[in-house]
Amino acid sequence: MEIPVEVKLRFYSSMLRIRKFELKAAELFGQGQVPGSIHSCAGQEACAEGVCARLRTDDYLIGAHRGHGQCLAKGAESRYLLAELLGKKSGYCLGKGGSMHVAVPEIGILGTNGIVGGGIPSALGVAVAVQYRGTDQVVTCFFGEGASNQGTFHETLNIASLWSLPIIFICENNLYAELTPHRLHLKLPDVARRAEAYGIPSTVVDGNDVLAVYEAAGVAVERARSGGGPTFIEGKTYRWEGHFVGDPAKYRPAGELEEWKGRDPILRLKAHLLENGLADGDQLAGIEMSIEEEIKEAVEFAVSSNPPDPSTDLMSGVYAAFDGF
């Protein structure tokens, strides 16, 4: 089925937002404004966007540590996400979580996660709740190929299949788990074959082709909403930065990054739009400028925001009822 041009323009602006956010975050990190470490998804935008464009606000997303793009594609606002990365009180989690622990439950984002594979089992519980209530919401669960080696991945896929839960598993295979290439940690070239072993229909897509991801996601969402159970989508993609921003990534062979930059998901979509007369250069430039404005404004907001106040914010919020020892 033909994807409407408005949807393709949404892909364009959303992926640009993710790209520019990630590049800006890396720049701020280089200036010492971002505490701790961040994991950039620049280059991987199509995976998050192609899936999230199929989702409603009341659908759920569980992310991993490379999750800014997933949050933005699901509808998070750049300013509050950036403020969280900077450890400010105006951030989504009051500055208490940071990049790897962002949740925006009002739009279904139930958390990025700092433990590889740590968020995957909770997808089961969210899906159980959906099934319990008899709604047609879906649960997306994002992770990388590295996480597919954690026991939690296997436990979760088995139960998702066994109970026919409305979960869409999205594996962003970016060829490296932390600093180690795929061939050194995973026997199978395609992670999707693991899903087959659990009885879950799976597909491997070009993770840098947002149209292909969107197609695959459409099948998966329809299956989940209609009670058909889980689907596994493996997107082959690549991260431009190292594992964390600042990682020199010497483990990458020369030329590999350049080759993948040649498959930039945003430039590919741009070419598609222009070549097919679906948008003109001015329109696309206009979109890019408005995203740039948005990111600029997000930076001003985040940088000028205050950090949380230890006298009121340190000890509060651990429990619903109990003030601690």
């Binding site: 622990h101 925006v104 089992p121 997808a123 519980g125 919020g317």
Partner: protein, 323 residues
């Protein structure tokens, strides 16, 4: 009134709570159709089916993930980790995910999770099925921990734990399952954060948890014959801890012996002892004693396990040391 045993009281609490609140469901190994490996969930699957009583595969991390995800999505899950020793299998989900999700996500989530697990030794279950891990659960901020010692509390604390909007680890002692009491058959709860004075006294305070409450009471009975009146306090709520009751008692008696089945080193006795020292030092007439298990895994052979577990004699010796 009803004459029940400890495990039946747990079953009654679960049944009543599930009837009262449609957002509660159970998940765990053998908790559905089989009725629970200890009969603790008997009759529930028969009443509600898979929707509210889910038999899971042997996948502890997934079981806790089910609890966390369902809570984040607005339900009130009660899950079982069969033996608290199996927390070792799913420790990330308990300590890094469930315990931290409320705080690190900016207090956006209410996590009304109850995690039932058994604890304790004395039935030759061996090193990996006999431990008491309340100290580990106390040490990571974000969890609440309760350990009922009586049939009354087994029912009341479980109801309170289920109604609590925070994650509660409910540790039921496997050697207490056949303990029998006459208890109210109405709806009641035992508040978290409230210790119980099981026996009043003025000469020494015995602070005990779980099965050791009964050991402490037996020891107190024998000490009474020697003219030593021990006050026995059942802590029953580890997090929140009822500091007030503990301190009031120690200020009255001036002497304290902490009795727990868990290993002495870095057990909850160490925390309670330090707390008493910090907050009631001037009231102490003797150093605080701890009666607890030695620094070895729980041995299998009954001859060794008997020597391993603290008993009345050990409590009496500890009291005599500071009398």
């Amino acid at each position: 009134m009803a004459n029940l045993n400890y495990i039946r009281a747990i079953n009654v609490a679960l049944t009543e709570e599930m009837e009262r609140d449609p957002d509660i469901f159970l998940a765990g190994e053998d908790v559905g159709e089989p009725g629970g490996s200890f009969t603790e969930t008997r009759g529930i699957w028969q009443k509600y089916g898979f929707r509210r009583a889910k038999d899971t595969p042997i996948s502890e991390s997934a079981i806790l993930g089910i609890a966390l995800g369902a809570a984040m999505a607005g339900l009130r899950p009660v899950v079982e980790i069969m033996f608290n020793d199996f927390i070792g299998v799913c420790a990330d989900q308990l300590f890094n995910q469930i315990a931290k999700a409320r705080y690190m996500f900016g207090s956006k989530f209410k996590l009304p999770i109850t995690i039932m697990a058994n604890c304790g030794g004395g039935i030759s279950a061996g090193p990996q099925h006999s431990q008491s891990w309340e100290a580990m659960c106390m040490h990571v901020p974000g969890l609440k921990v309760v350990m009922p010692a009586t049939v009354y509390d087994a029912k009341g604390l479980l109801k309170a734990a289920i109604r609590d909007d925070d994650p509660v680890v409910y540790l039921h002692h496997k050697a207490l399952y056949r303990l029998r009491e006459e208890i109210s058959d109405g709806d009641y709860t035992v508040s978290l954060g409230k210790a119980a004075v099981r026996k009043e006294g003025r000469d020494v305070t015995l602070l005990a948890v779980s099965a050791m409450v009964h050991t402490a009471l037996k020891a107190a009975g024998r000490l009474e014959q020697e003219g030593i009146k021990a006050e026995v306090i059942d802590l029953r709520s580890i997090v929140p801890l009822d500091k007030q009751t503990v301190l009031d008692s120690v200020k009255k008696t001036g002497r304290a012996v902490i009795v727990h089945e868990a290993v002495k080193v870095a057990g909850i006795g160490a925390e309670v002892s330090a707390m008493i020292m910090e907050e009631a030092f001037d009231y102490l007439d003797a150093p605080i004693q701890r009666v607890a298990a030695p620094y070895v895994p729980v041995p299998f052979s009954p001859a060794l396990e008997k020597a391993y577990l603290p008993d009345e004699e050990a409590v009496i010796q500890a009291v005599r040391k500071i009398a």
